[in-house]
């Protein structure tokens, strides 16, 4: 079934690429979304089953695919609006849509890959497509960001591949099932702990460029700054989930061995450094999208702390990723609207947003409340659980340090949000040719509402998915 899905995605993407026609773009995007949702339903109803020897519909992949499908709906809609606001050639537009379709397909492949080498292949493929999308506006900054993203991610991912190769030394693994996750988990105890440690370090370093945590986080920050807002929304949500998945799969292999405690310590260090970097750099930033990028860095740091804490922390880390995806995506969609009024992403060019467009202002305020984990945001619950887990594990100093740093980030975020909403009107704002579709903001309210609803009363189906995703760690 997954092969069918890939073929459909590939055919649609090539049609979009070769026709270079707006109507074809829209029809093909619609068809792709249909097949995406259809495949998603199929995979959710078949959880636990293999699809060919390389893919398995597992709970965590299923959960991330649902998030991916919801965000693809919103992203395609916002991309459509993005192209209405900005003038681009037909060639650029069709290149954008075909790269977007292929990006979503490769993220789906990463979500369900059972063979870790195939997981690597999918993640490398996402790098290629996303760098084309970052380059979409064809400016010098875009070129720089795309080059840095592509080159540093490629080198990082190559290093991660070295780590994956070390797993192939597990005894008793050969033939077609080499590097299959299931086999590796069963044979993990027989692998030399030294190799496990080296492999984990290499994979963590490599995939940190994708997940946007400490060693290689800089490229994702730059990428957020210049990418079109719908793509930024993808980079900091689904793509980060894919990076997390890469690290998490390796973590599940280690979880049953004596190396677990060591790996958790590494994650603890990575998490706390990420939050520190974010708190330092967010103070200096003057650009809304960079501020959101540093906020993503902070949230990924919290997720790493959740994995490091263990116990309820595992559950909370995955919950946090899901909630963060919805909130951060709506922030990026909203900033696209802000840009259509002020024609700038810099703090100094904005102000009085509430007066210009009150519905958008309300959405932004709600986004701020949700992203900084103020109740009733779902992120409050996940962060609370993560810190609870840290306290239970006696990592008190780290937890307190992280909480202090979060206060700094909350301050910066609050200051700049209030500046956008209430500061004096900047001088040269021209509202005459600004068109904002009311439904545009609705999509953000839906996503935020979902976060609040899932935080307050999560449906059984949702908690079951997370619980079965982490059952392998217990």
């Amino acid at each position: 079934m997954i092969i069918l899905y890939f073929s459909i995605a590939f055919i649609l993407a090539s049609l979009v690429f070769f026709f270079k026609n707006q109507t074809v773009n829209r029809i093909m995007s619609g068809l792709f979304l249909l097949s995406q949702i259809g495949f998603n339903f199929y995979s959710i109803s078949n959880i636990g089953k293999y699809d060919s020897i390389y893919y398995k519909f597992d709970a965590l992949g299923g959960l991330f695919s649902i998030v991916l499908s919801i965000l693809s709906l919103a992203t395609f809609y916002h991309s459509y609006l993005y192209f209405q606001r900005h003038e681009f050639s037909k060639k650029q537009e069709s290149a954008y849509y075909s790269a977007l379709i292929m990006l979503i397909a490769s993220m789906m492949s990463a979500n369900y890959a059972e063979n870790i080498a195939l997981l690597w292949v999918s993640i490398e493929a996402t790098t290629l497509f996303v760098s084309l999308l970052i380059f979409h506006e064809r400016t010098k900054d875009a070129l720089e960001a795309a080059w840095k993203y592509l080159f540093i991610s490629s080198v990082g991912v190559a290093i991660a591949f070295m780590g994956i190769l070390f797993f192939s030394m597990a005894p008793g693994i050969n033939g077609l099932s080499t590097l299959s996750l299931n086999n590796l988990i069963m044979n993990a105890k027989d692998i030399n702990p030294l190799w496990l440690k080296i492999a984990f370090l290499l994979v963590l370093t490599g995939f940190s460029a994708k997940m946007g945590i400490f060693p290689l986080h800089t490229v994702t920050v730059d990428a957020h700054t210049v990418a079109p807002p719908p793509i930024s929304a993808f980079i900091s949500t689904s793509l980060m989930n894919v990076g997390f998945l890469g690290i998490f799969r390796i973590f599940t292999i280690i979880a049953k061995t004596s190396t677990l405690y060591w790996a958790q310590n590494v994650l603890l260090i990575v998490g706390i450094i990420s939050i520190t970097m974010s708190a330092i750099q967010i103070l200096r930033t003057k650009h809304y999208k960079r501020m959101f990028a540093f906020s993503s860095l902070e949230h990924m740091g919290i997720v790493a702390l959740g994995l490091a804490a263990g116990g309820i922390g595992y559950y909370a880390a995955i919950l946090h990723l899901v909630f963060h995806s919805f909130v951060k995506a709506s922030l990026f969609y909203q900033i696209g609207q802000v840009h259509s009024i002020y024609k700038s992403y810099y703090f100094k060019d904005t102000g009085k947003y509430f007066k210009f467009y009150s519905l958008g202002g309300l959405a932004f305020l709600l986004c701020f409340v949700c992203i900084t984990a103020i109740p009733p945001s779902g992120l409050f619950i996940s962060e609370f659980l993560i810190f609870k887990a840290l306290f239970i594990q006696n990592r008190i100093i780290v937890a307190i340090l992280a909480l202090v740093l979060l206060t700094v980030i909350l301050y910066v975020f609050g200051k700049n949000t209030l500046h956008l909403l209430y500061a004096d009107k900047p001088e040269n704002v021209d509202l005459n040719n600004v068109t904002i579709n009311k439904f545009e903001t609705l999509s953000q309210f839906v996503l935020l509402g979902l976060v609040i609803y899932l935080g307050i009363s999560p449906p059984i189906f949702f908690t079951d998915l997370i619980n079965s995703a982490i059952s392998i760690l217990k």
Binding site: Y54, L128, S131, W147, V155, A158, S168, M169, T178
Partner: protein, 209 residues
């Protein structure tokens, strides 16, 4: 027989540190591709004949023909000739590459793991480390792509050192991904060459707070 090719491979690394012309890099990449093909030819005799031919073919095609040819094309388009823009003089680079090789010799003799072929591992490890060093010392992004390819060749040798037998389809997918990656990197090098009229990394420093 394999020893000769391995030694030749490590000599190409030293030559990389020594070379000053960009065209030499392309030739060296071609030589590395051929050497990897030879190493593979003499080390993989135990597998099925079909797999054997397939793996050999993809190696020679991608590593020794397509990639060097493409890199040469990129080099011509950007009119890169003399590469005298390293941060560190050639003399020190040679010392460092030799130290790289020595360290990896000691490391692999220390490891004593029965599952690792230490012959391959020595050169592979040196190749990865040297690739990273190569990227760091160069100012121009074409050389960065060359450094990336050196790392990739090193990883290819590591996969031989660990005796990993990946499923055929996965193996093919990995190679195709690397190929696609280099093609896109090359396209971006051309773009940067056209936009900034130079491929120096110094131009790419606009994004900051």
């Amino acid at each position: 027989m394999i020893d000769i090719f391995i030694i030749l491979y490590s000599m190409t690394l030293i030559y990389f540190a020594l070379a000053e012309r960009v065209s030499k890099y392309v030739i060296l990449l071609f030589i590395q591709g051929v050497l990897l093909f030879c190493v593979l030819f003499f080390s993989l005799y135990k597998i099925e004949i079909f797999d054997f031919i397939f793996i050999l073919l993809e190696t020679i095609l991608v590593k020794a023909i397509i990639l060097p040819w493409f890199m040469n094309k990129v080099r011509r388009q950007n009119q890169l000739k003399r590469e005298n823009d390293t941060y560190i003089p050639v003399f020190y680079s040679i010392i460092i590459v030799v130290i790289c090789l020595l360290v990896s010799f000691f490391l692999s003799s220390k490891l004593q793991d029965t599952q690792i072929h230490s012959k391959y591992f020595t050169v592979a490890f040196a190749s990865v480390i040297f690739g990273i060093y190569f990227i760091i010392i160069h100012r121009n992004i074409f050389s960065h792509v060359v450094g990336y390819l050196i790392i990739e060749n090193g990883i290819f040798l590591i996969s031989l050192a660990l005796g990993s037998k990946m499923p055929m389809m996965v193996n093919l997918a990995v190679l195709l991904d690397v190929l696609m990656g280099v093609l896109v990197l090359g396209i971006f090098v051309n773009r940067i060459g056209n936009t900034f009229e130079s491929v120096e990394i110094g131009h790419l420093t606009q994004l900051k707070d």
